[in-house]
Symmetry: C2
DNA sequence: CGTTGGGTTGAGCGCGATCAAGCGTGGTGG
DNA sequence: CCACCACGCTTGATCGCGCTCAACCCAACG
Protein backbone atom coordinates (compact mmCIF):
# COMPACT_ATOMS: atom_id res chain seq x y z
CA UNK A 1 0.00 0.00 0.00
CA UNK A 2 2.25 2.70 -1.32
CA UNK A 3 0.85 6.19 -0.93
CA UNK A 4 1.95 8.59 -3.62
CA UNK A 5 1.44 12.05 -2.24
CA UNK A 6 1.45 13.90 -5.49
CA UNK A 7 -0.72 13.51 -8.53
CA UNK A 8 1.19 12.82 -11.69
CA UNK A 9 -0.09 14.01 -15.03
CA UNK A 10 -1.64 10.75 -16.06
CA UNK A 11 -3.48 10.36 -12.76
CA UNK A 12 -4.66 13.93 -12.87
CA UNK A 13 -6.05 13.34 -16.30
CA UNK A 14 -7.85 10.18 -15.29
CA UNK A 15 -9.31 11.94 -12.30
CA UNK A 16 -10.58 14.90 -14.28
CA UNK A 17 -12.54 12.54 -16.51
CA UNK A 18 -14.28 10.88 -13.62
CA UNK A 19 -18.06 11.43 -13.29
CA UNK A 20 -17.40 13.25 -10.06
CA UNK A 21 -15.14 15.83 -11.64
CA UNK A 22 -15.79 15.99 -15.32
CA UNK A 23 -18.59 18.52 -15.17
CA UNK A 24 -16.89 20.86 -12.75
CA UNK A 25 -15.59 24.25 -13.77
CA UNK A 26 -11.84 24.64 -13.77
CA UNK A 27 -11.82 26.51 -10.49
CA UNK A 28 -13.95 23.98 -8.62
CA UNK A 29 -12.01 21.06 -10.08
CA UNK A 30 -8.80 22.69 -8.96
CA UNK A 31 -10.07 22.99 -5.40
CA UNK A 32 -11.01 19.32 -5.39
CA UNK A 33 -7.66 18.29 -6.81
CA UNK A 34 -5.88 20.23 -4.09
CA UNK A 35 -7.20 17.93 -1.43
CA UNK A 36 -6.87 14.64 -3.29
CA UNK A 37 -4.12 12.14 -2.75
CA UNK A 38 -3.51 8.97 -4.68
CA UNK A 39 -2.89 5.55 -3.22
CA UNK A 40 -2.01 2.36 -4.96
CA UNK A 41 -3.31 -0.83 -3.42
CA UNK A 42 -2.06 -4.31 -4.05
CA UNK A 43 -4.32 -7.11 -5.11
CA UNK A 44 -6.32 -8.59 -2.22
CA UNK A 45 -5.51 -5.80 0.18
CA UNK A 46 -8.34 -4.41 2.27
CA UNK A 47 -9.12 -0.78 1.49
CA UNK A 48 -11.42 -0.21 4.43
CA UNK A 49 -13.30 -2.38 6.87
CA UNK A 50 -16.88 -2.16 7.98
CA UNK A 51 -17.32 -0.40 11.29
CA UNK A 52 -14.03 1.45 11.12
CA UNK A 53 -13.75 5.21 11.22
CA UNK A 54 -14.58 6.76 7.82
CA UNK A 55 -11.95 9.36 7.06
CA UNK A 56 -11.99 9.18 3.27
CA UNK A 57 -14.04 8.24 0.31
CA UNK A 58 -12.52 7.16 -2.98
CA UNK A 59 -12.83 7.15 -6.71
CA UNK A 60 -11.20 4.40 -8.70
CA UNK A 61 -8.56 5.38 -11.24
CA UNK A 62 -7.75 1.86 -12.35
CA UNK A 63 -8.51 -1.69 -11.30
CA UNK A 64 -11.57 -3.19 -9.64
CA UNK A 65 -12.80 -3.10 -6.08
CA UNK A 66 -15.08 -5.56 -4.38
CA UNK A 67 -17.56 -4.31 -1.78
CA UNK A 68 -18.75 -7.02 0.56
CA UNK A 69 -20.02 -7.70 4.01
CA UNK A 70 -19.51 -10.38 6.65
CA UNK A 71 -22.33 -12.28 8.22
CA UNK A 72 -22.12 -13.28 11.82
CA UNK A 73 -20.84 -16.73 10.93
CA UNK A 74 -17.91 -15.23 9.00
CA UNK A 75 -19.16 -15.78 5.46
CA UNK A 76 -18.54 -13.05 2.90
CA UNK A 77 -21.32 -11.73 0.70
CA UNK A 78 -20.57 -9.50 -2.24
CA UNK A 79 -22.64 -6.37 -2.66
CA UNK A 80 -21.03 -4.79 -5.66
CA UNK A 81 -17.97 -4.49 -7.86
CA UNK A 82 -16.73 -1.07 -8.86
CA UNK A 83 -14.26 -0.09 -11.54
CA UNK A 84 -12.46 2.86 -13.10
CA UNK A 85 -14.39 6.09 -12.69
CA UNK A 86 -16.66 4.76 -9.96
CA UNK A 87 -16.87 6.28 -6.53
CA UNK A 88 -16.99 4.11 -3.44
CA UNK A 89 -18.03 4.92 0.11
CA UNK A 90 -19.35 8.36 -0.77
CA UNK A 91 -22.30 7.60 1.44
CA UNK A 92 -19.86 7.53 4.37
CA UNK A 93 -19.77 11.34 4.14
CA UNK A 94 -23.07 11.28 5.98
CA UNK A 95 -24.49 8.89 8.52
CA UNK A 96 -22.62 7.74 11.57
CA UNK A 97 -19.07 8.32 10.40
CA UNK A 98 -18.17 4.69 9.91
CA UNK A 99 -17.96 2.49 6.84
CA UNK A 100 -20.85 0.06 6.61
CA UNK A 101 -19.13 -2.47 4.35
CA UNK A 102 -15.74 -3.87 3.51
CA UNK A 103 -13.78 -2.96 0.42
CA UNK A 104 -11.06 -5.11 -1.07
CA UNK A 105 -8.85 -4.65 -4.11
CA UNK A 106 -9.69 -7.40 -6.58
CA UNK A 107 -6.45 -6.67 -8.37
CA UNK A 108 -3.84 -3.93 -8.30
CA UNK A 109 -5.81 -0.72 -7.86
CA UNK A 110 -5.14 2.98 -8.08
CA UNK A 111 -7.41 5.13 -5.93
CA UNK A 112 -8.02 8.83 -5.58
CA UNK A 113 -8.56 9.61 -1.92
CA UNK A 114 -10.90 12.39 -0.82
CA UNK A 115 -10.82 13.50 2.77
CA UNK A 116 -14.38 13.47 4.04
CA UNK A 117 -14.11 16.40 6.44
CA UNK A 118 -12.55 18.49 3.73
CA UNK A 119 -15.17 17.48 1.19
CA UNK A 120 -17.92 18.36 3.63
CA UNK A 121 -16.43 21.81 3.98
CA UNK A 122 -15.90 22.15 0.27
CA UNK A 123 -19.42 21.05 -0.62
CA UNK A 124 -20.98 23.48 1.82
CA UNK A 125 -19.02 26.29 0.20
CA UNK A 126 -19.33 25.31 -3.42
CA UNK A 127 -22.77 24.32 -4.69
CA UNK A 128 -21.07 23.13 -7.84
CA UNK A 129 -19.18 20.49 -5.89
CA UNK A 130 -22.30 19.60 -3.96
CA UNK A 131 -24.21 19.02 -7.17
CA UNK A 132 -21.43 16.79 -8.49
CA UNK A 133 -21.52 14.74 -5.32
CA UNK A 134 -25.31 14.49 -5.48
CA UNK A 135 -25.15 13.36 -9.03
CA UNK A 136 -22.73 10.56 -8.21
CA UNK A 137 -24.69 9.51 -5.13
CA UNK A 138 -27.80 9.45 -7.23
CA UNK A 139 -26.24 7.30 -9.90
CA UNK A 140 -24.94 4.88 -7.28
CA UNK A 141 -28.41 4.73 -5.77
CA UNK A 142 -29.91 3.92 -9.14
CA UNK A 143 -27.34 1.18 -9.64
CA UNK A 144 -28.11 -0.35 -6.26
CA UNK A 145 -31.85 -0.34 -6.89
CA UNK A 146 -31.30 -1.88 -10.30
CA UNK A 147 -29.28 -4.56 -8.59
CA UNK A 148 -32.12 -5.39 -6.20
CA UNK A 149 -34.55 -5.56 -9.09
CA UNK A 150 -32.20 -7.68 -11.17
CA UNK A 151 -31.57 -10.13 -8.32
CA UNK A 152 -35.23 -10.47 -7.58
CA UNK A 153 -36.65 -10.92 -11.02
CA UNK A 154 -34.01 -12.64 -13.09
CA UNK A 155 -32.42 -16.05 -12.97
CA UNK A 156 -28.66 -16.56 -13.09
CA UNK A 157 -28.47 -16.97 -16.88
CA UNK A 158 -30.63 -13.88 -17.34
CA UNK A 159 -28.46 -11.78 -15.05
CA UNK A 160 -25.38 -13.01 -16.84
CA UNK A 161 -26.89 -12.20 -20.23
CA UNK A 162 -27.71 -8.72 -18.93
CA UNK A 163 -24.17 -8.24 -17.80
CA UNK A 164 -22.70 -9.41 -21.08
CA UNK A 165 -24.97 -7.12 -23.05
CA UNK A 166 -24.03 -4.13 -20.92
CA UNK A 167 -20.34 -4.91 -21.15
CA UNK A 168 -19.79 -5.67 -24.77
CA UNK A 169 -18.90 -3.22 -27.51
CA UNK A 170 -22.09 -1.78 -28.99
CA UNK A 171 -21.56 -3.22 -32.42
CA UNK A 172 -24.54 -5.48 -33.05
CA UNK A 173 -24.46 -8.93 -34.58
CA UNK A 174 -21.50 -11.10 -33.68
CA UNK A 175 -18.92 -10.04 -31.11
CA UNK A 176 -15.84 -11.18 -29.32
CA UNK A 177 -14.62 -9.37 -26.24
CA UNK A 178 -12.79 -9.84 -22.99
CA UNK A 179 -14.30 -9.91 -19.50
CA UNK A 180 -13.04 -6.95 -17.48
CA UNK A 181 -12.21 -9.14 -14.46
CA UNK A 182 -12.05 -12.66 -13.07
CA UNK A 183 -15.04 -14.90 -13.27
CA UNK A 184 -15.10 -15.49 -9.55
CA UNK A 185 -15.46 -11.75 -9.08
CA UNK A 186 -18.21 -11.62 -11.66
CA UNK A 187 -19.99 -14.39 -9.81
CA UNK A 188 -19.97 -12.29 -6.65
CA UNK A 189 -21.18 -9.22 -8.50
CA UNK A 190 -24.12 -11.17 -9.84
CA UNK A 191 -24.88 -12.63 -6.44
CA UNK A 192 -23.87 -16.14 -7.44
CA UNK A 193 -21.51 -18.85 -6.30
CA UNK A 194 -18.71 -19.41 -8.83
CA UNK A 195 -20.16 -22.79 -9.76
CA UNK A 196 -23.50 -21.19 -10.54
CA UNK A 197 -21.82 -18.68 -12.86
CA UNK A 198 -20.09 -21.51 -14.64
CA UNK A 199 -23.41 -23.27 -15.17
CA UNK A 200 -25.01 -20.03 -16.30
CA UNK A 201 -22.33 -19.72 -18.98
CA UNK A 202 -22.90 -23.23 -20.20
CA UNK A 203 -26.65 -22.70 -20.24
CA UNK A 204 -26.06 -19.67 -22.49
CA UNK A 205 -24.16 -21.84 -24.95
CA UNK A 206 -27.48 -22.69 -26.54
CA UNK A 207 -28.07 -18.94 -27.00
CA UNK A 208 -24.85 -18.59 -28.97
CA UNK A 209 -22.41 -17.67 -26.24
CA UNK A 210 -18.98 -19.32 -26.32
CA UNK A 211 -16.34 -18.95 -23.64
CA UNK A 212 -12.59 -19.19 -24.13
CA UNK A 213 -11.01 -18.32 -20.83
CA UNK A 214 -11.80 -14.66 -20.28
CA UNK A 215 -12.75 -14.10 -23.90
CA UNK A 216 -16.46 -14.22 -24.66
CA UNK A 217 -17.91 -14.80 -28.08
CA UNK A 218 -21.51 -13.89 -28.82
CA UNK A 219 -23.00 -15.05 -32.08
CA UNK A 220 -26.08 -12.88 -32.10
CA UNK A 221 -26.44 -10.03 -29.66
CA UNK A 222 -30.10 -9.58 -30.49
CA UNK A 223 -30.84 -13.22 -29.74
CA UNK A 224 -29.19 -12.87 -26.35
CA UNK A 225 -31.51 -9.99 -25.53
CA UNK A 226 -34.48 -12.35 -25.52
CA UNK A 227 -33.34 -14.61 -22.70
CA UNK B 1 -55.95 12.16 -6.61
CA UNK B 2 -56.92 15.43 -5.08
CA UNK B 3 -54.22 18.07 -5.19
CA UNK B 4 -54.30 20.48 -2.28
CA UNK B 5 -52.38 23.52 -3.37
CA UNK B 6 -51.69 24.95 0.05
CA UNK B 7 -49.95 23.46 3.01
CA UNK B 8 -52.03 23.37 6.14
CA UNK B 9 -50.46 23.65 9.57
CA UNK B 10 -50.38 19.95 10.26
CA UNK B 11 -48.80 19.14 6.91
CA UNK B 12 -46.28 21.90 7.31
CA UNK B 13 -45.30 20.50 10.66
CA UNK B 14 -44.91 16.97 9.35
CA UNK B 15 -42.80 18.24 6.51
CA UNK B 16 -40.48 20.25 8.72
CA UNK B 17 -39.70 17.11 10.70
CA UNK B 18 -38.73 15.14 7.66
CA UNK B 19 -35.05 14.11 7.30
CA UNK B 20 -34.84 16.33 4.25
CA UNK B 21 -35.89 19.47 6.09
CA UNK B 22 -35.31 19.00 9.76
CA UNK B 23 -31.72 20.20 9.77
CA UNK B 24 -32.28 23.23 7.60
CA UNK B 25 -32.12 26.74 8.93
CA UNK B 26 -35.40 28.63 9.03
CA UNK B 27 -34.58 30.61 5.91
CA UNK B 28 -33.63 27.62 3.80
CA UNK B 29 -36.61 25.63 5.04
CA UNK B 30 -38.85 28.51 4.11
CA UNK B 31 -37.51 28.57 0.57
CA UNK B 32 -38.13 24.86 0.23
CA UNK B 33 -41.64 25.15 1.62
CA UNK B 34 -42.43 27.86 -0.89
CA UNK B 35 -42.10 25.47 -3.77
CA UNK B 36 -43.78 22.46 -2.20
CA UNK B 37 -47.28 21.35 -2.89
CA UNK B 38 -49.19 18.54 -1.26
CA UNK B 39 -51.11 15.81 -3.00
CA UNK B 40 -53.26 13.11 -1.53
CA UNK B 41 -53.31 9.81 -3.36
CA UNK B 42 -55.88 7.11 -3.03
CA UNK B 43 -54.97 3.55 -2.25
CA UNK B 44 -53.67 1.65 -5.28
CA UNK B 45 -53.24 4.71 -7.42
CA UNK B 46 -50.06 5.01 -9.41
CA UNK B 47 -47.89 7.93 -8.33
CA UNK B 48 -45.50 7.76 -11.24
CA UNK B 49 -44.61 5.24 -13.89
CA UNK B 50 -41.24 4.06 -15.05
CA UNK B 51 -40.04 5.79 -18.19
CA UNK B 52 -42.30 8.77 -17.80
CA UNK B 53 -41.04 12.32 -17.58
CA UNK B 54 -39.72 13.09 -14.09
CA UNK B 55 -41.07 16.47 -13.04
CA UNK B 56 -41.18 15.97 -9.27
CA UNK B 57 -39.76 14.03 -6.43
CA UNK B 58 -41.65 13.38 -3.24
CA UNK B 59 -41.44 12.93 0.46
CA UNK B 60 -44.08 10.91 2.24
CA UNK B 61 -46.15 12.66 4.89
CA UNK B 62 -48.35 9.69 5.69
CA UNK B 63 -49.08 6.24 4.34
CA UNK B 64 -46.85 3.78 2.49
CA UNK B 65 -45.63 3.68 -1.06
CA UNK B 66 -44.50 0.65 -3.00
CA UNK B 67 -41.67 0.99 -5.53
CA UNK B 68 -41.65 -1.74 -8.12
CA UNK B 69 -40.69 -2.58 -11.64
CA UNK B 70 -42.19 -4.58 -14.48
CA UNK B 71 -40.37 -7.34 -16.26
CA UNK B 72 -40.90 -7.87 -19.94
CA UNK B 73 -43.48 -10.58 -19.29
CA UNK B 74 -45.57 -8.19 -17.20
CA UNK B 75 -44.72 -9.48 -13.74
CA UNK B 76 -44.24 -6.95 -10.95
CA UNK B 77 -41.18 -7.07 -8.71
CA UNK B 78 -41.04 -4.98 -5.57
CA UNK B 79 -37.88 -3.02 -4.91
CA UNK B 80 -38.78 -1.17 -1.76
CA UNK B 81 -41.49 0.15 0.51
CA UNK B 82 -41.26 3.67 1.82
CA UNK B 83 -43.16 5.33 4.64
CA UNK B 84 -43.65 8.62 6.47
CA UNK B 85 -40.56 10.81 6.30
CA UNK B 86 -38.98 8.90 3.43
CA UNK B 87 -38.10 10.51 0.13
CA UNK B 88 -38.81 8.75 -3.13
CA UNK B 89 -37.47 9.38 -6.61
CA UNK B 90 -34.87 11.88 -5.45
CA UNK B 91 -32.44 10.19 -7.78
CA UNK B 92 -34.64 11.37 -10.66
CA UNK B 93 -33.20 14.85 -10.09
CA UNK B 94 -30.18 13.60 -11.98
CA UNK B 95 -29.76 11.08 -14.75
CA UNK B 96 -31.89 11.05 -17.86
CA UNK B 97 -34.93 12.92 -16.58
CA UNK B 98 -37.24 9.93 -16.39
CA UNK B 99 -38.38 7.76 -13.53
CA UNK B 100 -36.73 4.35 -13.56
CA UNK B 101 -39.37 2.58 -11.49
CA UNK B 102 -43.06 2.60 -10.74
CA UNK B 103 -44.54 3.96 -7.54
CA UNK B 104 -47.92 2.98 -6.20
CA UNK B 105 -49.81 4.03 -3.09
CA UNK B 106 -50.20 0.98 -0.89
CA UNK B 107 -52.91 2.81 1.01
CA UNK B 108 -54.20 6.37 1.22
CA UNK B 109 -51.09 8.50 1.03
CA UNK B 110 -50.19 12.14 1.58
CA UNK B 111 -47.21 13.36 -0.40
CA UNK B 112 -45.12 16.50 -0.43
CA UNK B 113 -44.24 17.32 -4.02
CA UNK B 114 -40.95 18.97 -4.91
CA UNK B 115 -40.51 20.34 -8.38
CA UNK B 116 -37.24 18.96 -9.71
CA UNK B 117 -36.26 21.93 -11.85
CA UNK B 118 -36.89 24.25 -8.95
CA UNK B 119 -34.96 22.05 -6.55
CA UNK B 120 -32.03 21.95 -8.93
CA UNK B 121 -31.99 25.71 -8.98
CA UNK B 122 -32.39 25.93 -5.22
CA UNK B 123 -29.66 23.40 -4.49
CA UNK B 124 -27.19 25.18 -6.72
CA UNK B 125 -27.88 28.42 -4.86
CA UNK B 126 -28.05 27.08 -1.34
CA UNK B 127 -25.34 24.66 -0.23
CA UNK B 128 -27.43 24.01 2.84
CA UNK B 129 -30.19 22.57 0.70
CA UNK B 130 -27.68 20.63 -1.34
CA UNK B 131 -26.23 19.04 1.76
CA UNK B 132 -29.69 18.05 2.93
CA UNK B 133 -30.38 16.41 -0.41
CA UNK B 134 -27.04 14.62 -0.35
CA UNK B 135 -27.71 13.35 3.10
CA UNK B 136 -31.04 11.87 2.08
CA UNK B 137 -29.61 10.38 -1.10
CA UNK B 138 -26.83 8.88 0.93
CA UNK B 139 -29.18 7.32 3.42
CA UNK B 140 -31.30 5.89 0.62
CA UNK B 141 -28.17 4.46 -0.96
CA UNK B 142 -27.19 2.82 2.32
CA UNK B 143 -30.66 1.33 2.59
CA UNK B 144 -30.50 -0.08 -0.91
CA UNK B 145 -27.09 -1.64 -0.35
CA UNK B 146 -28.27 -3.13 2.92
CA UNK B 147 -31.18 -4.58 1.02
CA UNK B 148 -28.88 -6.29 -1.48
CA UNK B 149 -26.77 -7.69 1.35
CA UNK B 150 -29.83 -8.83 3.28
CA UNK B 151 -31.34 -10.54 0.24
CA UNK B 152 -28.12 -12.30 -0.60
CA UNK B 153 -27.07 -13.60 2.76
CA UNK B 154 -30.22 -14.23 4.72
CA UNK B 155 -33.06 -16.69 4.33
CA UNK B 156 -36.68 -15.64 4.47
CA UNK B 157 -37.11 -16.26 8.21
CA UNK B 158 -33.90 -14.36 8.91
CA UNK B 159 -34.98 -11.36 6.84
CA UNK B 160 -38.34 -11.39 8.58
CA UNK B 161 -36.67 -11.58 12.01
CA UNK B 162 -34.50 -8.62 11.00
CA UNK B 163 -37.52 -6.63 9.97
CA UNK B 164 -39.40 -7.40 13.16
CA UNK B 165 -36.42 -6.41 15.30
CA UNK B 166 -36.04 -3.13 13.44
CA UNK B 167 -39.72 -2.36 13.68
CA UNK B 168 -40.62 -3.14 17.23
CA UNK B 169 -40.51 -0.77 20.18
CA UNK B 170 -37.03 -0.88 21.69
CA UNK B 171 -38.15 -2.28 25.02
CA UNK B 172 -36.35 -5.59 25.41
CA UNK B 173 -37.85 -8.86 26.61
CA UNK B 174 -41.44 -9.53 25.59
CA UNK B 175 -43.32 -7.29 23.17
CA UNK B 176 -46.56 -6.92 21.33
CA UNK B 177 -46.89 -4.53 18.43
CA UNK B 178 -48.69 -3.91 15.18
CA UNK B 179 -47.27 -4.30 11.70
CA UNK B 180 -47.19 -0.93 9.94
CA UNK B 181 -48.79 -2.34 6.78
CA UNK B 182 -50.33 -5.34 5.09
CA UNK B 183 -48.50 -8.62 5.06
CA UNK B 184 -48.59 -8.85 1.30
CA UNK B 185 -46.75 -5.55 1.15
CA UNK B 186 -44.22 -6.76 3.68
CA UNK B 187 -43.68 -9.84 1.56
CA UNK B 188 -42.80 -7.64 -1.40
CA UNK B 189 -40.48 -5.50 0.70
CA UNK B 190 -38.61 -8.61 1.81
CA UNK B 191 -38.46 -9.94 -1.74
CA UNK B 192 -40.83 -12.81 -1.03
CA UNK B 193 -44.06 -14.20 -2.37
CA UNK B 194 -46.89 -13.79 0.16
CA UNK B 195 -46.93 -17.54 0.74
CA UNK B 196 -43.25 -17.51 1.62
CA UNK B 197 -43.82 -14.76 4.18
CA UNK B 198 -46.58 -16.79 5.73
CA UNK B 199 -44.27 -19.76 6.04
CA UNK B 200 -41.51 -17.59 7.43
CA UNK B 201 -43.89 -16.44 10.16
CA UNK B 202 -44.79 -19.97 11.07
CA UNK B 203 -41.16 -21.01 11.10
CA UNK B 204 -40.51 -18.22 13.62
CA UNK B 205 -43.17 -19.63 15.91
CA UNK B 206 -40.51 -21.89 17.37
CA UNK B 207 -38.47 -18.75 18.13
CA UNK B 208 -41.31 -17.30 20.18
CA UNK B 209 -43.13 -15.23 17.58
CA UNK B 210 -46.91 -15.34 17.58
CA UNK B 211 -49.13 -13.71 14.97
CA UNK B 212 -52.68 -12.44 15.50
CA UNK B 213 -53.70 -10.72 12.31
CA UNK B 214 -51.48 -7.66 12.08
CA UNK B 215 -50.47 -7.87 15.72
CA UNK B 216 -47.14 -9.54 16.42
CA UNK B 217 -46.12 -10.95 19.76
CA UNK B 218 -42.47 -11.64 20.50
CA UNK B 219 -41.63 -13.59 23.63
CA UNK B 220 -37.94 -12.87 23.79
CA UNK B 221 -36.41 -10.20 21.60
CA UNK B 222 -32.87 -11.36 22.39
CA UNK B 223 -33.67 -14.91 21.31
CA UNK B 224 -34.96 -13.62 17.99
CA UNK B 225 -31.66 -11.88 17.37
CA UNK B 226 -29.91 -15.23 17.11
CA UNK B 227 -31.83 -16.59 14.15
C1' DC C 1 7.87 -32.42 -12.76
C1' DG C 2 4.79 -31.13 -8.44
C1' DT C 3 2.20 -27.32 -6.84
C1' DT C 4 -0.98 -23.75 -6.81
C1' DG C 5 -5.05 -21.23 -8.24
C1' DG C 6 -8.96 -20.52 -11.21
C1' DG C 7 -12.44 -22.85 -13.39
C1' DT C 8 -15.62 -26.74 -14.50
C1' DT C 9 -18.51 -30.72 -13.61
C1' DG C 10 -21.28 -33.86 -10.88
C1' DA C 11 -24.53 -35.31 -7.04
C1' DG C 12 -27.53 -33.99 -3.49
C1' DC C 13 -30.46 -30.97 -1.25
C1' DG C 14 -32.82 -27.00 0.83
C1' DC C 15 -35.17 -22.73 -0.12
C1' DG C 16 -38.63 -20.33 -2.05
C1' DA C 17 -41.81 -19.78 -6.35
C1' DT C 18 -45.93 -21.46 -8.21
C1' DC C 19 -50.46 -23.34 -8.56
C1' DA C 20 -54.43 -24.71 -6.17
C1' DA C 21 -57.46 -25.23 -2.46
C1' DG C 22 -59.23 -23.79 1.92
C1' DC C 23 -60.00 -20.47 5.75
C1' DG C 24 -61.78 -16.32 8.23
C1' DT C 25 -63.54 -11.77 8.36
C1' DG C 26 -65.83 -7.84 6.85
C1' DG C 27 -69.21 -5.90 3.64
C1' DT C 28 -73.25 -6.01 0.77
C1' DG C 29 -77.78 -6.95 -0.72
C1' DG C 30 -81.86 -9.66 -0.94
C1' DC D 1 -80.92 -11.14 9.58
C1' DC D 2 -78.57 -14.05 7.12
C1' DA D 3 -76.67 -15.77 2.59
C1' DC D 4 -73.31 -14.57 -0.23
C1' DC D 5 -69.18 -12.83 -1.85
C1' DA D 6 -64.62 -10.53 -1.86
C1' DC D 7 -60.31 -10.15 -0.01
C1' DG D 8 -56.22 -11.17 2.62
C1' DC D 9 -54.04 -14.81 4.33
C1' DT D 10 -52.74 -19.71 5.21
C1' DT D 11 -51.69 -24.41 3.98
C1' DG D 12 -50.48 -28.15 0.94
C1' DA D 13 -48.05 -30.24 -3.07
C1' DT D 14 -44.78 -29.83 -6.52
C1' DC D 15 -40.85 -28.24 -8.83
C1' DG D 16 -36.84 -25.72 -10.38
C1' DC D 17 -33.04 -22.76 -9.12
C1' DG D 18 -28.88 -22.17 -7.04
C1' DC D 19 -25.94 -23.48 -2.84
C1' DT D 20 -22.80 -26.89 -1.00
C1' DC D 21 -19.36 -30.28 -0.99
C1' DA D 22 -16.32 -32.98 -3.64
C1' DA D 23 -13.69 -34.40 -7.42
C1' DC D 24 -11.48 -33.19 -11.46
C1' DC D 25 -9.25 -30.33 -15.16
C1' DC D 26 -5.90 -27.27 -16.85
C1' DA D 27 -2.57 -23.68 -17.40
C1' DA D 28 1.15 -21.06 -15.20
C1' DC D 29 5.12 -21.36 -12.65
C1' DG D 30 8.84 -22.73 -9.68
Amino acid sequence: MNKTLTLNVRERDLLLNTPLLKRLSGAAAERMLDSVSVVSIESRDIIFGQGSQAKNFYTILSGFVRIYTLSRDGRETDIGVYGPGDAIAIDAMFGDGTYHFNAQAAEAVLLATFNIAEMKRLSSESPEVAVALMSVLSSNLGQAMDCVADDRMHTAPQRLANFLLQNCPPTGGSIRFRLPFQKSLLAGKLGLAPEALSRAFSSLRSAGVAVHGRVIEINDVEALRNV
